[in-house]
């Protein structure tokens, strides 16, 4: 197990380095973009050249990358091109909100997927099973930003139950925080639950077809008891792997959902970075999300290996 964790940790660093390089190149693929965005379309070539020189943007891309990486390793994410304030502290301030949103959305996804997936397996090849599969297909086709719009239309505009947006830290006012976070979490979580529901159903069907479940049934255990007490733990192993990937994918949606619900998170900062072409801001935001995503994958891998030691042996052999 220790070897497994060590190997995963060793893979973490080069992956992060490679992702940072890809992001850096992708953002800086067109030279001069930041200067143009900062100085406006009427900026003279001299002003653009001066801006690029001041911010080190006139150097070759590999040189810029190495310089940026060196600073990042020392905890310096650079300064915003627009406001001139350090990016690092701003990011850390916003990270807790984004993490809270992702975790809440993941909880919503699991609250839908686990019970409905188990019920679909329980009612296998009966109308309820088909209904849950249709539901999963429908949820999978919903754009999260449209669902968010519909939720606002229903709960804010029509029923006036929930506020349209904004943020209060959970430590200051937990209930108000929940009322502000529930619609963003549902918008992200419902879409994520579509795949998870199917995985839960398939996984549960595979487990319930195994010998030990037949033995439990032969000994007189009811179907419900077998599903909830005997099969669920084993069915959760493949589910967990897909769940980890889905948790990572949630971070793709936070940029949009934070923007809709006026949540001052890392996603919103990334969007400000894009619209204002504030590259240090954008790069730092996306890199931070990459670290969170890779860490989440690492944790899921370790939990999966702990639940299913065969996985550790397979990695050892390969």
């Amino acid at each position: 197990m220790i070897r497994f964790i060590s190997m995963r940790l060793l893979a973490f660093v080069p992956t992060l380095l490679a992702i940072s390089a890809v992001l850096f190149v992708a953002i800086n693929v067109i030279p001069g973009g930041a200067a143009q965005a900062s100085l406006g379309i009427k900026a003279t070539p001299e002003a653009i050249a001066r801006f690029n020189r001041e911010h080190g943007l006139d150097r070759p891309l590999p040189e810029q990358y190495v310089a940026w990486l060196g600073k990042v390793l020392n905890g310096d994410f650079g300064k915003s091109l627009q406001s001139g304030t350090p990016v690092g502290p701003e990011l850390l301030k916003r990270l807790s909100l984004t993490l809270e949103l992702a975790v809440l959305a993941f909880i919503v996804a699991n609250l839908i997927a686990v019970p409905l997936g188990c019920l679909a397996a329980y009612y296998h090849q009966r109308p309820a099973d088909n209904a849950f599969i249709v539901l999963s297909t429908v949820m999978g086709a919903l754009p999260n930003f449209w669902l968010a719009t519909l939720l606002i239309l229903l709960f804010t505009v029509t029923l006036k139950w929930l506020p349209p947006g904004g943020y209060v830290p959970i430590m200051e006012a937990p209930l108000q925080n929940l009322s502000l976070m529930i619609m963003p979490a549902i918008s992200l979580g419902v879409v994520s639950s579509a795949l998870l529901l199917r995985i839960m159903r398939t996984s549960m069907l595979e487990v319930t077809a195994s010998d030990y479940i037949r033995t439990a049934r032969a000994k007189g255990a009811g179907r419900g008891v077998v599903i909830w007490r005997h099969a669920l733990r084993n069915a959760l192993i493949p589910y967990l792997t897909v769940g980890g990937v889905e948790f990572s994918l949630l971070f793709g949606g936070v940029v949009i959902v934070e923007n809709i619900f006026l949540l001052p998170g890392v996603g919103q900062l990334a969007l400000i970075g894009i619209t204002q072409r504030d590259y240090p801001l954008l790069l730092a935001s996306v890199l931070l999300i990459a670290v969170v995503v890779l860490t989440a994958n690492l944790i899921v891998d370790v939990i999966g290996a702990w639940l299913d030691p065969r996985r550790v042996r397979t990695v050892g052999i390969s």
Partner: protein, 275 residues
């Protein structure tokens, strides 16, 4: 042979193909179907509810929502088609060459693909758009690039199975050239799974294109796009809820149609289900 196919089992394929066909027809014949120009501003008619003249109402500038929704289908289909094309060509080139040459080539390419695959695709598309700048063509490129890792993994895995077949050994033994083996022998035999993945990819491309235009990163106004229509409609939610509902429903139906088509094609080509 087609007569032996139990068509009722392929209901998904039928529904998906019907929805997709409708969508393509709407996109192709948008100028004939739309009763008004999608760009025509008519301020006195602003925020009209659905009526006999404006079937799905009008927006804040008095433009016909139905016409804009119909024309937006064009952009979505165009972007999705080019993006999936870029993804398939890039993914197949990387996957085929990795499977064929193996060794260090395979390791370097596929580790890079795995790394990109682990990163949220939506976020990657946004980052690429930030670098390239906002436009419809750049949206096509950005979405195409995010498809490459997934298609590369799939084409590599299926090509590795094909490479173990006897007819490939025979092709090697008669001295067939590498490009000929790759594109005449292997490529046609991995076409089916790639086609299924392409159909499912189409659904995701429509979603990502809508998300990018929602954020203002896709095709720029006054071009009508479903994402941009939802975003501008959010401001009029109390007075004109249809502005948020209609384009979202169009995205939902399109994504559902392409997903069902992809699932249906997968079932259709699955020998277990056919037997």
């Amino acid at each position: 042979m087609l007569a032996y196919i139990p068509w009722r089992r392929f209901a998904l394929l039928s529904i998906g193909a019907s929805v997709t066909m409708c969508l393509i027809i709407v996109a192709l014949f948008a100028p004939l179907i739309a009763p008004f120009s999608p760009y025509e501003i008519n301020v006195p008619e602003r925020l009209q509810p659905p009526s006999a003249i404006h079937w799905l109402g009008t927006d804040e500038l008095g433009r016909d929502t139905f016409s804009r929704t119909v024309f937006a289908a064009r952009i979505s289909i165009q972007v999705a088609a080019v993006a999936v094309g870029i993804g398939l060509i890039g993914g197949i080139l990387v996957g085929l060459s990795s499977a064929y040459f193996g060794g260090a080539w395979d390791m370097i390419f596929m580790r890079n693909m795995d790394m990109l695959y682990a990163f949220p695709a939506m976020l990657l598309a946004i980052v690429i758009m930030a670098g390239l700048g906002t436009s419809m063509v750049n949206a096509m490129i950005a979405i195409g690039i995010i498809f490459i890792p997934g298609y590369a993994r799939l084409s590599r895995a299926t090509a590795q199975i094909v490479l173990r077949q006897q007819y490939i050994e025979a092709a090697f033994s008669i001295g067939m050239s590498t490009p000929r083996i790759l594109f005449r022998e292997i490529l046609p035999n991995i076409a089916t799974p790639m086609m299924v993945a392409g159909a499912i990819g189409f659904a995701y491309a429509v979603l990502v294109e809508s998300a990018l235009s929602f954020l203002g990163l896709g095709a720029q106004p006054p071009e009508p796009t479903w994402g941009e229509m939802i975003n501008s409609g959010r401001g009029q939610m109390a007075a004109a809820p249809w502005l948020g509902i209609v384009p979202g429903a169009a995205i939902f139906i399109s994504v559902l149609g392409f997903n069902l088509l992809g699932d249906g094609l997968r079932d259709f080509f699955d020998p277990h289900l056919r037997d």
